[in-house]
């Protein structure tokens, strides 16, 4: 099989600026939105959660916006036509610097700037709006037409900015959407990118029961739009499509999403279209959101070896069966006794998947090779503390990685202490790998002494303001993963636990089931502490059943 190389001009399309930081921001969007909704006692959590990755990617990756200068003529525009996603939108704007986070608690209340549906910000509406809102939504079906007006004006003014319009799928019941669809292709608006939040639920139920909109791709294609389909919760799929504008026609991204994604009992449940959860449940819901984890299979594992062909095969299987990232163990035969592959192979692999590349450099003098690994298309580059020549070198490397849009990581071996200087650089660290084997080979046994080390380190890091990820790497399998999750790891490198058997699908799904049911148990136990156990069980019944957790 021939490996796919990406062209130089395509490179930008695979590029996500600090992938792990963006994940963090999106988690924060959900938490902040939920905080507002529970405080208000009403609002639309489902719509906010299905669109969180879309809005997060737009505001923190794609759009040229400056909240402090919201009238900049060259800015990209975001027209939120599905305006009932207001809580998520406000949360995004707040994190982008529009207003203080605490203000989310005024959502939907009297005298608040955060109205039930967003209001265009202007001198005239400044008491009912916040900087950055371009469009007053609330009545469905209008935003795409307004976006067309903006695109026509931008073209007239010879501006090359983009107008992004977020549409709800239920919203496309409105006839005006199709008037606009026709007009956008008439005017050949290649400066318009619409995103359809295809969560398949509208207020009264499932879209295909209330008013079927499928075959949705064909509909837009026949209106002469460029149509692409992505998983709307995968930023690595969204970002390239948001960036790429085809010539001479408007583009729509069908983002397949899950309404209420992030909170299991709300997910894909029409009941939660416009209902607020109880304020008492908020701590548990935040705990659930903070429980989001990433599975990062290490492709050096398994019996098929590390020939490029085998690596490609493993990547394809991992992606197919729901892995979140690809862990790349780079070994040089010097820092560790074994040798695997280097940047040239990574570069060859880059084109076959959009999954983020989580490169773990177990090499001497990583500093000298950093450019090549950056060029190879890694999303995360982790270097070892043992070969890092002190604070200055880390500072230099992380600065280089950050300026190239790569999430910087630091790894420590089981016997290595976390260097004290890292506490002055926590903002420049996106992931910390606390190794639970001595690196060098796949298939080693988990060293249990690492758990107390994690238990001690992680809270200390959090107290000092570290918001990044902790990655568990070494001997992670069904028997060890829960305890690592328990102490705060949220990225799990798994080698033979996934590739050690033929049933890769089963291995990944079992792992997720294990982690999810562990979290479910924890939430149930914590509901007791909050004195809301009965109420929690009532709302959570189907989920408790799914994980076979006995609540009585």
């Amino acid at each position: 099989m021939e490996s796919v190389h990406f062209r130089e001009d395509d490179k930008r399309l695979y590029f996500i600026n600090r992938y792990l930081k963006l994940k963090e921001k999106i988690r924060e969007i959900r938490i902040l939105a939920l905080t507002g909704i529970t405080e208000a006692g009403s609002g639309h959590p489902g719509a906010s959660f299905s669109a969180a990755e879309i809005m997060g990617s737009l505001y923190f990756q794609i759009m040229n916006v400056d909240i402090s200068n919201p009238r900049l003529r060259q800015r990209d525009y975001f027209i939120n036509s599905k305006a009932h996603s207001a809580p998520g939108y406000y949360a995004t704007l707040s994190l982008a610097g529009s207003f203080p986070k605490e203000e989310m608690k005024t959502l939907r209340k009297l005298n608040s700037r955060l109205q039930g549906h967003p209001v265009r910000y202007s001198e005239y509406q400044k008491h009912h709006s916040v900087p950055g809102i371009e469009y007053s939504g609330g009545s469905e079906g209008i935003g795409l037409s307004v976006s067309i007006g903006l695109c026509l004006a931008n073209r007239l003014d010879k501006q090359d900015n983009t107008v992004y319009c977020l549409l709800g799928d239920g919203e496309t019941n409105e006839g005006q959407v199709w008037e606009a669809s026709m007009a956008a292709s008439k005017f050949k608006l290649d400066n318009l990118v619409a995103i359809l939040d295809r969560n398949k639920i509208q207020q009264d139920g499932f879209t295909e029961d209330i008013m079927p909109i499928d075959p949705i791709k064909e509909k837009w294609s026949s209106f002469n739009w460029d149509v692409v389909e992505v998983n709307g919760h995968k930023i690595e799929q969204l970002v390239p499509e948001l960036l790429n504008r085809p010539p001479n026609k408007p583009k729509i991204i069908i983002a397949n999403t899950i309404k209420g994604n992030g909170i299991k009992h709300m997910a894909n449940n029409p009941q939660w279209h416009g209902k607020a959860p109880s304020k008492k449940h908020l701590p548990l819901l935040i705990e659930e959101l903070e429980g989001e984890y990433l599975i990062s299979p290490s492709i050096i594992a398994g019996s098929t070896g590390i020939e490029e062909k085998s690596l490609i095969n493993k990547i394809e299987l991992a992606e197919k069966f729901g892995a979140d990232m690809i862990h790349l163990d780079v070994m040089d035969g010097k820092f560790v006794p074994n040798t695997t592959f280097s940047f040239d192979v990574i570069k060859n692999l880059r084109g076959i998947t959009k999954l983020p590349f989580d490169a773990h450099l177990m090499i001497q003098s990583p500093d000298s090779y950093l450019d090549s690994f950056i060029d190879a298309g890694c999303d995360i580059i982790t270097t070892h503390s043992e070969v890092c020549n002190g604070e200055k070198e880390f500072e230099k490397m992380s600065a280089k990685l950050i300026s190239n849009g790569i999430s910087p990581g630091l790894a420590i071996n089981p016997a290595t202490d976390l260097p004290g200087w890292i506490y002055s650089h926590l903002d420049d660290l996106d992931v910390l790998i606390i190794m639970s084997v001595n690196p060098g080979f796949a298939g080693q046994k988990f060293i249990p002494e690492v758990l107390p080390k994690m238990k001690n380190l992680i809270p200390k890091l959090r107290e000092n303001g570290y918001t990044g990820y902790i990655e568990a790497d070494g001997g992670i399998d069904q028997s060890t993963i829960e305890s690592c999750f328990e102490v705060g790891c949220r990225i799990f490198v798994m080698g033979n636990a996934i590739f050690g058997s033929e049933d890769i699908d089963k291995r990944i799904s079992e792992t997720k089931f294990k982690l999810d049911s562990h979290l479910e148990q924890t939430l149930l136990a914590n509901s007791q502490k909050l004195n809301i156990r009965e109420d929690w069980i009532k709302g959570r019944k189907t989920i408790l059943d799914r994980y076979e957790i006995k609540s009585v």
Partner: protein, 330 residues
Amino acid sequence: MKNDLYSLNTTNEIRFSDMRSAYGESLVNLGKKYPNIVCVGGDTTDSLKTKKFGEMFPDRLFNVGIAEANLVSIAAGLAIAEKISFASTYAAFIPGRCLDQIRNAICYPNLDVKIVVSHAGLSVGPDGASHQQIEDISIMRSLPNMRVLVPADAPSVKKLLENIVQIPGPFYVRLARPSTEELYPEETDFEIGKGKVVTDGADLSIFACGTMVSASQKASDTLKKEHGISCRVIDMYSIKPIDTDLIYKCAKETGSLISVEEHNVVGGLGSAISEVTSDICPTFVRKIGIKDKYGESARDEEIDSLLDKYGLSPKEIVRNAVELNKREKK
């Protein structure tokens, strides 16, 4: 009173011209002066005369076909990008079909969209009731931030347009289809929020708008000659904001008031005047308009008879004025 009095066209020759051509011409002139003026039309650019603007500025006129909701919303988008955005088609379709869009996408955010419609009222003629827009003043007047203008002739159309492009925010400008008598010389100024006394009088005040201004003048001549009633006729081209001071003054000076409009008597000019009088100077307001029903077709040469049938002719105005005057005397 004399200062308020407007000096009308004094030449004996009566000139007729149509408001749409005045609109089309003005738009071209204004387009030269203001490069940020754009216009959105809906398959009626020929009829609305906005085509002329498109011929002069091909990249600034957008024809979106028969899709009025889309039309006004695109105009809103253009206004967000700092354009002065004109949205134009027949009155029958804009306010009714896309009230929601005008409300949410234009008035609520207070955007600089100028909605200019034609073919308002009964005088559309042959197209019949489906095309006779008689509810629009009422609808548009009820929207916060919206301002409603009903010019009486071509020169006032030009002047009003010159004014409104200098005032940010939404306007609704209502034009009629037929050619109308030119009442004003070109240099006349029209302030938004004011009314113009076109004929002075002491016994009654007739407030009219659009095509009904000249009809009211004719009625006033007859009333003077045949009934000895001295009527004051006021062109209320600005229905919102409305000239409260002038209404108050007329109520104090002439007593009873009459309103005349090519519009339903519910919610139009008469209602707007009554809202003022009931607040500050309780007075009889006799509302002459379409009596809460739909119109019908009439050939162009039958339009005067159509208006008469629906109570909007000079004859009907005279009848009402005489009746009201008698009642006053009692």
